[in-house]
């Protein structure tokens, strides 16, 4: 899997960073930062949860073959 973000719709409310702090952060001006584009194990599970719960759908998980 690989994480892709869309900053044009990110609201910067940082729920993702709260859910998966090793994968997501939020910049000073309020945009999501991906700390680890290809997390594995527990971090992957939390990243998927954060993506599903992103309020604006700004986080997409791309499955790779």
């Amino acid at each position: 899997m690989k994480i892709v973000t869309d900053l044009s719709i990110c609201t910067g409310n940082a729920l993702c960073a709260g859910t998966a702090p090793t994968v997501f952060d939020v910049s000073e001006d309020g945009y999501v930062i991906v700390l680890n584009e290809k997390p594995s194990g527990d971090a992957e599970a939390l990243a998927r949860r954060a993506a599903f719960n992103c309020p604006t759908g700004a986080i997409t998980i791309i499955e790779e073959a």
Binding site: A14, N53, P55, T56
Partner: protein, 427 residues
């Protein structure tokens, strides 16, 4: 036939309806998840999935036709105009705007709510919080709403804004005035009184703007004074709208959450003890308290285009009501939804902060504030219990309590650190 019965039972604009709404929410979810409520010409959504969809798709579901049930209830133009006293239309409150304007207006204050910005305020906020916890008397009845839950959010909001007034009582009065206009049970006279109180708040903010222009700080008012929109500095109407939003709208919701979490833990002493032993559960406990309390019961949207939800056709211009308090007990999302469980892993997040572009801008701040408070309470006290029945608000929007009588038991067992004040607190 059962649909007819539901039509008799559902009364979303009646504050008393919410005294015992859970069985009706469950029936709506089972029998009519997209329920047409004729008295207000609105479709009531009760399924979590449908509300996520409606909240996220702002291209279809717009806030411009009103957000609160109370707004669509005041059909008399004179009453509707009174609401303008609270929010000058020239202030263009971002909650009521469509994309892309919504994003532009909200972005002005977003940086002030980032985890980084909140960290810089951390130590001051800890002092405020500790002050309230230290002042709590042990082994006697205290009203947790009055002593803590109503005060802490105002102290946080004041620090965020950078305002000087530490007169919590005064600011609470303004906050309560705003909450009352959404309650759905104010007479025109009461509305006017609330409006008059709100003018005092605006006067306070205007003097604060002058002070901050002379002496800028690392706060939201300074950020707003520096900001530009459409190539211009923000005018007073815009500045006041942002400040009112933060102070008044943000404080009563948090009060509900803090009271709701304290009450729920008092009602579940095993879980209180478990949280005290294992603070790594704090995050899931707070999310559970948000789900359990759902401080904002629901919000209105107006359709910008014809659409269909679960086969129900809804036309452009019609309204839907996102009843978050029902979505938060949707059994398809939350197993045993009527059970309070601080260990609940929410793979699908509750709707306590809403969802979509309108999600609570202060969600992280609220979580930080709640964790700070409950960590301090659990440090100082081994437990607390109800000393009476909390009185729920009669309010169509806000789920909360007038009071929460609690008795705190100080931590005395080995290893715990009794607070120095405790030694002289009881004669």
């Amino acid at each position: 036939m059962s649909a007819d019965e539901l039509a008799d039972l559902v009364k979303i604009e009646d504050p008393s309806f919410y005294d015992n709404a859970v069985p009706i929410y469950q029936r709506l979810q089972n029998e009519a998840p997209v329920f047409y409520y004729a008295p207000l010409d609105i479709f009531v959504l009760t399924k979590h999935e449908d509300m996520r969809f409606a909240a996220q798709r702002k291209d279809i579901f717009s806030p411009t036709g009103g957000l609160l049930l109370s707004e669509i209830m005041y059909k008399d133009p004179e009453e509707a105009k009174l609401l303008d006293v609270f929010f000058d239309p020239a202030g263009e409150m971002f909650s009521y705007t469509d994309l892309p304007r919504h994003r532009t207006l909200r972005r002005i204050i977003t940086p002030s709510f980032t985890p980084r910005a909140l960290q810089t305020m951390g130590s001051e906020l800890e002092d405020s919080c500790r002050g309230l916890v230290d002042a709590l008397a042990a082994r006697q009845r205290v009203d947790f709403v009055e002593a803590v839950a109503s005060r802490l959010p105002i102290l946080f909001a004041s620090r965020l804004l950078g305002t000087t007034s530490d007169d919590v009582t005064l600011i609470r009065k303004w906050s309560d005035g705003l909450e009352n206009i959404g309650s759905g049970n104010l007479s025109p006279d009461e509305l006017r009184a609330a409006a008059a109180e709100f003018k005092n708040m605006n006067a306070f903010f205007l003097s604060e703007f002058d002070r901050k222009r002379a002496t800028p700080g690392d706060d939201l008012v300074t950020t707003l004074l520096d900001a530009t929109l459409d190539g211009e500095k923000l005018n007073d109407a815009r500045l006041l709208t942002y400040c009112a939003l933060v102070l008044a709208v943000g404080t009563d919701t948090t009060r509900s959450l803090l009271a709701g979490m304290a009450i729920a833990l008092a009602q579940h002493p095993d879980q209180l003890a478990r949280l005290r032993e294992d603070r790594s559960l704090m995050s899931t406990a707070i999310d559970e308290a948000l789900r359990w309390t759902t401080p904002a019961r629901g919000f209105v949207r107006t359709l910008l285009a014809d659409t269909e939800i679960r086969g129900q056709k809804i036309k452009k211009g019609q309204r839907v009501y996102l009843l978050y308090s029902a979505g938060n007990i949707d059994p398809e999302v939350f197993a045993d939804p009527l059970t309070f469980d601080i260990t609940r892993e929410q793979d699908i997040q509750h709707l306590g902060f809403g969802f979509g572009p309108h999600i609570c801008i202060a969600a992280q701040m609220v979580k930080m504030e709640t964790a700070m408070l409950f960590n301090m309470l659990l440090d100082r006290f081994s437990s607390w219990e109800l000393a009476g029945e909390p009185r729920p608000l009669k309010h169509i929007l806000r789920s909360g309590w007038h009071d929460a009588p609690l008795v705190f038991t100080p931590a005395v067992e080995a290893g715990a650190q009794p607070h120095p004040d405790l030694t002289g607190s009881k004669s």
